[in-house]
Every structure is written in C-alpha cells, then in structure tokens.
Amino acid sequence: MSETETRKKVKPVKKLAEEKAGPILEIQGLTKYFDAAKGKMVHAVENVSFTLERGETLGIVGESGCGKSSMGRTILKIHDSTSGKIIFDGVDITKFSNKQMNPYRKRMQMIFQDPYASLNPRMTVGEIIEEPMVIHNMGTPKERRAIVQDLIQTVGLKPDHIRRYPFEFSGGQRQRIGIARALALNPEFIVCDEPISALDVSIQAQVINLLEKLQHERGFSYLFIAHDLEMVHHISHKIGVMYLGNMVEFGTSDEVYKTPLHPYTKALISASPVPDPELAKTKKRILLEGEVPSPLNPPKGCPFAPRCPHCTERCKQEKPETYSIGNHKVACFLYAPEK
C-alpha cells in the first residue's frame, strides 16, 4: 500500500498537543547509579535536567556507554532512579509504585533498538500488537482486533501479516511491528531507543518518515535516542548531548548542530562523516585523543577534561555548572560568566 493511501485510512485522532498546557515531561537532576562489583558504582546518569514539550522531539546523542539508554529506561521507570525528579504531565512519578504507575505506563511507551530481539518469536504479529491492550484490560477481544487491524495499516504493513510470525519479516518491517505495538495503547510519550541503527540505509528513511508522520497526526512527544547525528538533527526539535552520564549541551536542533558550544559537541559533529566528498575534503576534523573514561571511576572535574583540547587546571578539579546562553545550555567553563 502506498503512503498516501495509508494516510487516508488513519482516523483523525484529536491532537493532544493543543489541549493541555505545560510540558509533557520534566526531568530535574535525574541520577542513576548501578551497583557494580567491589562496592563500586557505575555512574550511568548524572544530574540530568531537561523539559520536553508536547508534540516535540528531543534527540539525545552521545557515544555508547554515555548513559543515553539508561536515561530513557530510568524515565520510563524500568530502572528506579537514584535521585532526581521525573515529572510526567505535571505529576511527579519518581516514587510511584508499580501499581501507581499502571495508568501512566499506558501513556508512555518504548520502541527498542534491535527489531530482532524485541519481538517474541513464538507470538504472531497480531498477538504481539494486541498484548499491551490485554495487559491493560482495554476493550473486548473484538475491539482489540479492530485496533490491531487499524494499526497494522497505519505503520504500512498488510492486513494478512497479522497471522504471521516475526521471523518472516525483514528488519525494517519488524521495526514497524515494534512501532505498532508501542502505538497500541495510544500513548502520549514514546522513548525511541536507537530505532534505526539496526536498519539498512534505504530503510532507515522509511522508518523516520513514519515516526514523523505519526507525530504530526497524533501529537506524540518523542525522546529519540541515537548516535547518528545527521538523523537526530533531521528529526529533533531539541537536542541534548550526553557524555559519561552528563548532559553537556542542550538547545534547539539547529543551535546545537550549527553553532555547537561544548568542545565535545564540536568534536562529535566534526567527526561525523559527511556524505559529500567536496565538503569532506574541506571539513576540519577535530580528532579527539583517547577514549571515554570508565563510568565506574569518572573524573573528578569535568567528565570531558581528559580528552578536551581546551582543558585547564580548573576543569580537572571542579565540575562545571550548566550555563545558559539564551535557551542554549552548556556545561563548560569556557562559557562561565566573567566574575
């Protein structure tokens, strides 16, 4: 089925974005430590704060091990946070029990990175998409089946795919099944944890377009976790850059991509390969020395200090606060106001 046909069949769902006021998600000083051997702690997420407006996409970029997936999971309360606040739609859910969380789980969903591992191989596609509704006691079996039918077309699969099993599908199609499952409860907020990194280039764009179309029609808010900067810049309204559990820079998509402030963001953008040979020749690469320090034993001062070309004595001793330059936030002493 073509994209336009799919679009016509989707029922116009009321746009949540216009009805309610205030941000959908507010994170204040979120911290998550995991226990490790010998009494050590893995500092996965360290004092992260941001807000996500309704109907917007916040892109989170950073290298593997920087805590971006841990943060997504902590926000959904798959992990309990160590400290900080998670305010979802005006309600502080940080300390909620599993029972209290139940009505909220419906409203926040997740799309996983690996479309091969995140679908139960022994369930049919229909069962997979229906399962969240069964868990939350939504509708009669007949109603649920109608919703599954509807969803499968929304994500661009064919009605007869319902009775098939995941192994019969390609990576891109599986990711569509994962998306349909996330949509089943009609959530308001979706964490997309690297939804395209396991897909082929020509298929990535299909999935991105689908996510964008759904956001446009239903007013979803996305937390889009990825390491592909070009894609994040494309899909996001705002971008947060993470390094070793810390949010080192936060701003609108264009601000962060076109006028990066933090030395790490600058290096990250300069290192990402541009698909344009002439530009690649002229582009100045900032080659970083070394690798990310271990989160078991993070540096005392700025987390980026050991690799930073602008590192000073102060950076090694003291952790920089987050400084605001307009709406653009950066945690680096280079931007500290003069005393």
């Binding site: 290298e63 020509s202 070009e230 344009d276 690469r285």
Partner: protein
C-alpha cells in the same frame, strides 16, 4: 597491471530453500595505494565477494565462474579442479592470507580470541609467514602497536582482549592485519561497531597507512559518509550486482543509477534544508533465491520499465571510470540482449 583484478565473479550458496546466487558476475580492480569503497545493503553480496577471494566461504558456498588475479597469481578456486590442483590452491592461499592480503573484520568484540594474550595473537601471523625468532616477532608487535596508537605497548602485550575497549580492540585487529606489510587490505565494515569519534581516529589511521606504504585497500561499508571522505573509487552493489561504479565525485555528484540516487536522497543531509521529509526508497531488498535474470532493483525503482523486469541491463560507460548498469541508459541497445525475441 592492477594489484587485484576480479572479472565476472559469481558465487552461489546451496541452502534448503534453493540456490542463493549471492554474487552475480561482478568486476573489481584495485591499484596499489588506492582505496576502493564497496557500498551496499545487507545481503547485497559485498562481503561474500571478498570472502570468495580469500577462500573463506562457508561450506555451502562455491565460486561458480569468474577469474580473480592478485599480483599475477590466479586465485580463482574454480580454476583448480583436480585434487592435486586444489591442494596447490589451498597451499597458495595459506601463504597469501594474513601475509599479502589481510582482512579486517566488522566486530572487534568477537574477532579476537578471548583466552589468548594480545602478544600471541599479533605474533602468530609474523612467526608463521616470516623466518624470525620470537624476540624479533615481539619487537615487531611492539612497533605495530605503536603505529596503530596503543599507548605503553610493552605492558599491554601481556593483556587479554577483555582488558581493551572496542576502539582499542579494533586497533589490535588492524595491527594483526598489518603485521606482514600486506599489499592489499580488505576492511569489512571496520568502524560499524565503533563510536563516531573513535571511527574518525581509525579511518584516519587507514588513510595514513595507504599513503605511507602504498597498500591497496578495499573498504566494504554501508555508510556513504565514510566512503565520501576516504575512498578514491566506489562500487555500488545491490542484489549481487554492481549497479554503478565510478570515482567518488562521479558517484556523489553525477550519479546515474536510480538506486544510487535513491541512496543519496535517503540520507539526512544537514547541509541542505533539513526539515524537508526524507525520500526513502520504497519496498525491501530482493530475495536472492527468487531473483532471476531481471534488474534486481526493478520492483523498488520509480523509473522501472517493462524490460527491467525481464532482462538484466547492459553496462553503460560514461567515462573511463564511470559505469552504470541500468536500462535507462542502454534502452537503445536492447536488441543486443533480446535479439530475435523482441516480437514475443
């Protein structure tokens, strides 16, 4: 003469579901000091072509036709038929692998032996291929580790793979591959498992090595960004065929094949206005068991014609380096393919 010349390579796999024609008559050539990029999606045959060259195909795989010549030596397994010839072929490959041709694999996490020290893993190839003492091999290993940028190599040689990060392991793999100064280095997605900033370091290293030592490099990847900054020439593969080949500039600025154009359109390019929706290629890659003689891209192609679904297109030359296989550019030559069957 080219360092490596592959002509009409065809590789097939026998499976329960039928015969998979993974590589369908492809041509490559690589000169010394040149970087050739092979771009394609998963299942396009880009890795299998190289494994055919190295004689590393899985048990059910077989090279059925074509010729491969490396540095004057005939490396095509289909040219060695009797038992004695096969033995000779195996022996020759044994001498070449890890010596004149080296390969860097995709996943640095699973490629190294976890229970053998780094020293043994690096020196193994040196001791096998050259006449030298363990001490000399160790000295060479230290030299290699310095070259690929691993600090304090004397101490690190005694360590095991789990004590290294992903980027460091990939450097060790590069060190192993370079141990005997290969003439040709095949890199199969060398940076896919790595972070962007580490990827930049590794790519810089590969580039430096080609320029210094005049090594020929084949870089297999699906990342168009990587090929743009690193390669001299590019071959675009799809469904076991080379759809288009040319210099980097010819591919990026004068792409002729609808698939190449589609690939270039479907990546987010932030230097253009980025809020335009992306233009994906609809559909999914072909099933290589069912795929016949037609153009493999025809079902997904926006400009497909009737002929595309029946006959394989001819190769059209746009310049000495730029070739493309598409009926859009060779429609007037259809009689060469169809011959007398045009009236059917």
């Amino acid at each position: 003469m080219s360092l490596l010349e592959i002509k009409g390579l065809t590789t097939e796999f026998k499976t329960d579901g039928g015969t998979v024609k993974a590589v369908r008559g492809v041509d490559y050539h690589v000169e010394a000091g040149e970087i050739l990029g092979i771009v394609g999606e998963s299942g396009s045959g880009k890795s299998q072509g190289m494994l055919s060259l190295m004689g590393l195909l899985a048990g059910n795989g077989k090279v059925t036709s074509g010729s491969m010549t490396f540095d004057g030596k005939d490396l095509s397994p289909n040219h060695y038929n009797t038992k004695a010839e096969k033995k000779q072929y195996e022996k020759m490959l044994q001498e070449i692998r890890g010596n004149e041709i080296s390969m860097i694999f995709q996943d640095p996490m699973s490629y190294l032996n976890p229970i053998v020290t780094i020293e043994k893993q690096i020196t193994e190839g040196i001791l096998y291929h050259t006449k030298c003492t363990k001490k000399e091999a160790r000295a060479r290993a230290i030299e290699l580790m310095k070259m690929v940028g691993i600090p304090s190599p004397e101490m690190r040689l005694k360590q095991y793979p789990f004590e290294f990060s992903g980027g460091m392991r990939q450097r060790i793999i590069i060190a192993i591959a370079l141990a005997n100064n290969p003439k040709l280095l095949i890199c199969d997605e060398p940076t896919t498992a790595l972070d962007v900033t580490v990827q930049a370091q590794i790519l810089e290293l590969i580039k430096e090595l080609t320029q210094k030592a005049g090594t020929g490099v084949i870089l297999i990847t699906h990342d168009l960004g990587v090929v743009a900054s690193l390669c001299d020439r590019i071959s675009i593969m799809y469904g076991g065929n080379i759809m288009e080949e040319g210099t980097v500039n010819e591919i990026f600025y004068e792409a002729k094949h609808p698939y190449t154009k589609g690939l270039l359109n479907s990546i987010a390019n932030s230097n253009v206005d980025n809020k335009e929706p992306l233009k994906p290629i609809p559909g999914t890659p072909p099933d290589l068991i069912k795929l016949g003689n037609e153009c493999p891209f025809a079902p997904r192609c926006s400009e497909a014609m009737e002929i595309c679904t029946k006959y394989s297109p001819l190769s059209t030359e746009f310049s000495k380096t730029h070739k493309c296989k598409c009926w859009l550019h060779c429609a007037e030559r259809y009689e060469e393919v169809i011959g007398g069957k045009a009236d059917e």
